[in-house]
């Protein structure tokens, strides 16, 4: 290449870098604009939302409820991109960040927990945008710890709460007429009916949560003051492992193996091989009965003292192309109508993140109308029994220790 060519190249690179620098500044300016101007900017944009595609109800809600309203009201085209594990998208963003790519493919990501922690630590998220969303300001309780802490990591406005999930137990009332209310009662039942209970092996998400429920119960029995809240659990977990190992001979397959995934446990439950299942979606039993997979006699129950719950969020990556469009979209997700629609069991049944006290009377009436029959628990009971999740570091350490202390034995 000639010298002249080199010079041209340098000038080109300079212009390009100036242009990208300017666009990054312009993105930050978005946060200071009045909301109406953001809506105007968003008009005509295409927003790509990357999300786990494994739940049909969720997909239909996005495609048939959210997308048409966005198009009609704001002129935004919403493209849903299903992924099997959002972790892959985080890895892609990490690579794009290292290569300095300023225009990525995703505008919104659906994440929480360790993926959020990872994205924050690596600077993959855009900015504290939630504080300017009108529906966030109007309807979300800004001091709610279960929204502001995502598996122990402060959200700092980098992700907007979208929904809530809570761990519940499921049993077949034909065989288990009185669902156990404590871990001790459950253990008693298991010993009296060998082979009818098991849990998915951690790191399966649901199985891991069952182990945390045992840990919480054991910690409370030795230290009643323990609330189960962040880092309140004693570091010595031996009593939990003893408890689980003592149960082992009475588990399905005598505890020689555990279902690898919650899907396998559900299959065993549907076949009647075991009498219990569990899930992180409180309406799972209702949904499975509607699909004809679970017996009609399935019931959902909680442990006295509460079960773990977590919040899931929507966030905007640092290199999103349609940031204004992404904010307007997330704002619609946070609207009372969007949240109440999502809560309906036939739609998705995902928990609401808005503060019911901030809704108007008509909206509260809509909320009360939502029911889901005898197989699931009322929203009020669930809400009173929520315990925020542990930190993702602690969960990881529990999962590894379970494998050493219980899984291998």
């Amino acid at each position: 290449m000639s010298h002249r060519g080199n010079l041209l190249l340098i000038i080109l690179v300079l212009i390009l870098s100036l242009a990208t620098g300017a666009s990054a500044d312009k993105d930050m300016d978005l946060l200071t604009l009045p909301w109406e101007e953001i809506e105007e900017l968003a008009s005509g944009q295409t927003v790509h939302i990357y999300m786990w595609g494994g739940n049909n109800g969720t997909n239909i809600f996005i495609d048939q409820w959210v997308a048409p309203r966005l198009k009609e009201r704001y002129g935004i085209t919403l493209e849903r991109v299903p992924v099997t594990d959002i972790r892959e998208m985080i890895m892609k963003l990490l690579a794009e960040k290292q290569m300095g790519r300023h225009t990525g493919s995703a505008d919104i990501l659906w994440i929480n927990g360790e993926n959020f922690r990872l994205a924050m630590e690596e600077g993959l998220l855009w900015a504290p945008f939630t504080y300017i969303l009108p529906n966030y300001i109007r309807y979300v309780d800004p001091s709610a710890d279960d929204l502001n802490m995502d598996f122990g990591k402060a959200t700092e406005g980098y992700e907007a709460p979208w929904g809530k999930a809570q761990f519940v137990m499921i049993c077949n009332s034909a065989f288990v007429p009185d669902p156990p209310e404590t871990m001790e009662e459950l253990a008693g039942f298991i010993k009296a009916h060998p082979g009818r209970f098991t849990y998915p092996s951690p790191p399966d998400f649901t199985g891991s949560c069952f182990v945390r429920q045992v840990l919480l119960d054991r910690s409370r029995s030795s230290a009643p003051s323990c609330q189960g809240s962040q880092n309140d659990l004693p570091p010595d977990r031996s009593e939990t492992w003893d408890f689980l190992n003592r149960l082992k001979p009475y588990l399905w397959r005598k505890g020689n193996t555990y279902p690898e995934t919650i899907g396998i446990l559900d299959q065993l439950y549907a076949n009647g091989e075991v009498w219990f299942s569990m899930n992180y979606n409180p309406l799972h039993a209702f949904n499975q009965i509607s699909q004809g997979s679970f017996p009609e006699s399935s019931r959902t129950f909680l442990f006295r003292g509460g079960t773990f719950s977590n919040t899931h969020y929507l966030t905007i990556p640092f290199n999103a192309k349609s940031k204004a469009g992404a904010m307007v979209t997330i704002n619609l997700f946070l609207s009372p109508e969007g949240q109440i629609e999502k809560l309906k069991p036939g739609v998705w049944g995902d928990g609401m993140v808005l503060d019911p006290a901030k809704l108007d009377t008509r909206q509260r009436k809509d909320l009360e109308k939502i029911g889901s029959g005898p197989s699931s628990l009322p929203h009020g009971i669930l809400a009173q029994n929520r315990i925020p999740e542990l930190s993702s570091e602690e969960i990881e350490s529990i999962e590894k220790e379970w494998m050493e202390q219980v899984g291998k034995k």
């Binding site: 990872l118 790191p203 020689n256 193996t257 690898e260 076949n271 091989e273």
Partner: protein, 293 residues
């Protein structure tokens, strides 16, 4: 020129395979020795391999993976030979060769992906599965729980079953051309010399099949040794096969563990390469180039 054109035509496919396949392996190799970290600085280390060598879990996983792969391969090859013998009988029964249709029937299981095969085996053979229910309703077993445990047990019978079901038709396809090469004249000659069907199969067909059978068995071994989905669904919590163990490390949530998973993948690849080398140098070279059917 003609040769150049052929090279040109094959180039796109070759490039895709080269970049995606070897690129992936190369990146994995770099990660396993610390040269392609996701975060932080690149520092060369063999620490991941060292900790694998000193880990008891690794050796247990290696031995069960070897056991499953070797058993699946041998059972599958034996079953395939049995199938080929029956195809041979069908072929020589009449001058109108019907073996081709039966051979098609054997291919049915090849239509299913491995993950579907694994799930089908689970649904059919688990203690509350279809077969257990049929036995129970026929009164063959008095309780569902007395059905033998086939899936998710420590030996890996469920995994072997799934592999045999999937791979024996593959061996049959590779070896079937040998059956087609048998000419009626040979059979008549052998009959005159007093040989029965079984002897004809053993002394004429089997030697012709030896080469392709070895190749097919090696492919089956390489696949069953490294595959993930079947042991993931039909295996047990501990010990796991190497691929599932690697996945467990990879998906544990901690980025720092990922190079270890890559090291494990490199070991899987290494074992397959080693088996390939041994196969090439002992069996193939020893036989000369007799494996062209």
């Amino acid at each position: 020129m003609g040769k150049n054109k052929a090279v040109l035509l094959v180039l796109p496919a070759l490039a895709a395979v080269g970049i995606l396949f070897f690129g992936g392996i190369f990146h994995g190799l770099l990660q396993s020795v610390g040269l392609a970290p996701l975060t932080g600085d690149a520092v060369f280390t063999l620490g991941n391999y060292r900790s694998l060598l000193f880990s008891r879990d690794f050796w247990i996983s290696l031995s069960i993976t070897l056991r499953i792969a070797l058993l699946s391969t041998s059972i599958s090859a034996a079953l395939a030979l049995f199938g080929l013998y029956s195809l041979f009988l069908i072929r020589i029964r009449s001058t109108r060769d019907r073996s081709i249709y039966f051979q098609r029937c054997f291919q049915v299981s090849m239509l299913f992906p491995y993950i579907v095969a694994a799930y089908m085996i689970f649904l059919m053979f688990t203690q509350s599965g279809w077969i257990a229910r049929i036995f129970f309703n026929l009164g063959i077993i008095s309780e569902m729980h007395s059905f033998p445990i086939i899936t998710n047990e420590s030996f890996g019978w469920g995994i072997i079953l799934a592999y045999v079901w999937k791979t024996s038709p593959f061996i049959i396809i590779l070896l079937y051309p040998v059956v087609l090469r048998v000419e009626y004249g040979w059979i008549e000659a052998a009959r005159i010399l007093g040989a029965g069907n079984w002897r004809i199969f053993l002394e004429i067909l089997l030697p012709m099949m030896k080469g392709p059978l070895e190749t097919a068995s090696f492919i089956v071994f390489a696949y069953t040794f490294g595959a993930f989905e079947v042991p993931f669904i039909l295996g047990i919590t501990y010990p796991k096969t190497l691929a599932v163990y690697s996945y467990q490390i990879y998906s544990s949530g901690n980025l720092a563990d990922q190079p270890m998973a890559m090291a494990l993948n490199m070991v899987i690849l290494g074992v397959i390469l080693l088996a390939g080398t041994i196969y090439y140098h002992t069996i193939r070279v020893y036989n000369g180039r007799s494996d062209r059917p």
